[in-house]
Symmetry: C2
Amino acid sequence: MSVMTDSLAHPARSEIRIESVLHALADPVRLLFVRELARCGCEGAPCGSIELPVTKSTRTHHLRILREAGVISMRPEGTARISTLRREDLDTLYPGLLDSILTAAH
Amino acid sequence: MSVMTDSLAHPARSEIRIESVLHALADPVRLLFVRELARCGCEGAPCGSIELPVTKSTRTHHLRILREAGVISMRPEGTARISTLRREDLDTLYPGLLDSILTAAH
């Protein structure tokens, strides 16, 4: 298994924990990223296409927390990484949670 | 203004921030306390009546985070402190949030 694969590990739906999801979303920068991903509404967004007011390493840190909590999935595509909101997983596990947070975050 | 009053300051509804609410709830002990408060369904519960698997000082710390985030209110009653879930405030600000979290926390 390559390092790249390891570094993009994702929890299965059954491994997602509400505490981790709440922690991942309890940050204005991560909330901004998730809101932009949700607003995009497309299949996925290249990581770099959503601007965040942080350095590249801080950005990487935030995206890792979101990914490890099960909020977003990331896949490599060429030299880019494509982020997708795990809306189906979150809506199934916690009906209404994501919508209430996305609405509130404005 | 007494120290007691200061130590039980609460944010007004308009001061409650989604990031703080999510952070307050992103902890298993605090989630347990909030779930017990919600299950109680009464006007309020004496702080000590809900058992938590932590020391008294840790418990005080957790309750302060919940109070300062606007998740619970606390009022002194004799030598006890009565905790109440701020359900109306939270449901008004973030419709569906609390219910989705309370359901998920089991």
